[in-house]
């Protein structure tokens, strides 16, 4: 980050607010406390933009506003936010970052994703299952990439479901492994399509992300995802 404190030349008062905010988001996202609690009414995407340098990457209209406004704006639409963390034993942040950094790996443990296709260094195309056999698609932009630490992404304009999020890899205390935190935000559109999508993403977003992280942990630790699908039982229909 470009934010540094110079002891000899303290910043002028007007700039303190701006820098303070950016710094605050940065420490919120990389720190040890609950991200969403710290975010309160602000939007995650706004915070991520702040982290990435004040909306320079995102092709949005809010770029001219202050970070505080951006964060407030983006949350007016009734977004759904989720924060989940797991600890993965015996794997370094580097190893886990490598797996996640190739977005095409995500459908292996995010079961609601049909596919993710990487288009170029920062852009990828995501297809997710929607109710009634339909699917929803969007392009996402990697808006922040800190090797072995953090990957943040956001859907670009025109997405069926506006969404953004980040995954963070942090070494846990001695012998515990790596703490993996995912924070995501969804903004389902209004109308009938929106309702269906809200059902997909909004019904149990905690479950969706919680389950994805559990699957990721199982894959990384045990090499496979625990299942009973396809086993026998004495239920009609299973016979």
């Amino acid at each position: 980050m470009e934010i540094t404190t110079n002891k000899d030349n303290p910043p002028v008062p007007e700039k303190v607010g701006q820098m303070g905010e950016t710094e605050r988001w940065s420490s919120l996202i990389t720190g040890g406390s609950l991200v969403l609690l710290g975010l309160k009414k602000g939007s995650l995407r706004g915070a991520l933009m702040a982290l990435a340098g004040g909306g320079l990457v995102y092709h949005g209209t809010a770029g001219q506003k202050g970070i505080k406004d951006q964060i407030a704006d983006a949350n007016e639409s009734g977004s759904i936010t989720v924060e989940k963390t797991v600890t993965i034993f015996n794997k370094s942040p580097e190893e886990l970052y490598q797996v996640w950094h190739n977005f095409e790996n995500l459908p292996n443990f995010m079961k609601y994703l049909k596919s993710v296709k990487v288009i170029d260094q920062t852009r990828s195309h995501w297809v997710a299952d929607a109710p009634l056999g339909a699917s929803v698609e969007w392009d996402a932009e990697m808006i922040e990439d800190r090797p072995n630490q953090l990957i943040a992404w956001s859907s670009v304009e025109g997405a069926d479901v506006e969404n953004s999020g980040f995954v963070r890899f942090q070494k846990g205390p001695e012998g515990r492994g790596t703490e993996v935190k995912v924070v995501m935000e969804y903004n389902p559109p209004a109308g009938a399509v929106g309702a269906a999508l809200a059902k997909l993403f909004g019904k149990e977003p905690e479950q969706l992300i919680g389950s994805s992280l559990r699957h990721f942990k199982m894959l990384m630790e045990a090499g496979e995802i625990a299942t009973t699908e396809g086993q026998p039982s004495g239920r009609q229909g299973d016979k």
Binding site: T87, F89, N90, R176, G177, Q207, G210, S211, R214, H215, K217, M218, E221, A222, G223, E224, I225, A226, T227, T228, E229, G230, Q231, P232, S233, G234, R235, Q236, D238, K239
Partner: protein, 391 residues
Amino acid sequence: MKAVCWHGAMDMRVETVPDPTILNPRDAIIKITSTAICGSDLHIYDGFIPTMKAGDIMGHEFMGEVVEVGPNVQKLKKGDRVVVPFPISCGQCFFCNRDLWSLCDNSNPSENAGLIEKLYGHSPAALFGYSHFFGGYAGGQAEYARVPFADVGPIKVPDGVADDQVLFLSDILPTGYMAAENCNIQPGDIVAIWGCGPVGQFAIKSAFLLGAERVIAIDRFPERLKMAQEMSGAEILNYEEIDVGEALKEMTGGRGPDACLDAVGLEAHGMGLEGFYDKVMQAVRMETDRPNVLRQAIVSCRKGGTVSLAGVYGGFIDKVPMGAAFNKGLTMKMGQTHVHKYLRPLLERIQNGEIDPSYIISHRLPLEDAPRAYDIFKNKKENCTKVVLKP
């Protein structure tokens, strides 16, 4: 194949179901040669374990022959004779690495783990045939079973030892042993053990193996008390004939037992008004578990002693004398057994003749007789202490 399926309280049926198949690369399929009914299966039989679904295949004490292995299984091959531990453990998570196998992070499928997290905060390991909270895995009271993480759990047993001698490595022998180990037995210690079912019997034997000076066994069934006395040298108390609390104090010089071991769990049979209270509370689902034994163990235990729980608890209990536990400075130890940790040392003790666990078996029946077997085991008919089913 034939399998014992749960269809509701007191409703076990032997049904024809599809054979299990390999579902994950670390799976193996076992052709079962012996499978037992556990006291904890009776909690399911009685309808006290939530998230059972009609048609679920029962059983978590089983052994047999490997007939198929998945592509990532390296240590087992077709034809190996194995005993399978009842907790399912990945062998590669934090808990498995600390020998806390029944707390494995990776065996409970995500949707079930999510359910039980809401109740327990975290998900323990999945167990064979023990409700959907604990994974919803088909159990081993069947002709075949699918065993996940097959390189980690199943222990190979030599051909020279009979099924009856090693079958109980799957659960009750390690369970009795771990409960005794949890008593932290020191020279001169007197251990009181509530419940002389199979786990209680093995706990008594293990307490002596671990150096207990005396063991006092408590039950109400004369044949079980007799077994504790004759097979392991325990002193016995019939709680229907005597005030156990008073008796324990008198038998221990007024000190109380150094360790108290509850091998009964959530369906303890209480006496008098207190027993009636718990029966009513459990019936109306105001409490899920009846903790009569736990209460008595806490009050009886000597100051600074240990209370060890082997009997299963599943939900909530009422009126625990926490004041007594706190002010007497008791240590309480508990948990599902980390079976994997005990397999090898206990197999050695069986092979060198220190323990022959087969003495607890009262009935050997064909798998088809499972419904009757549950009935006689539950109701202690025909002096039933343990049933082994043969598919």
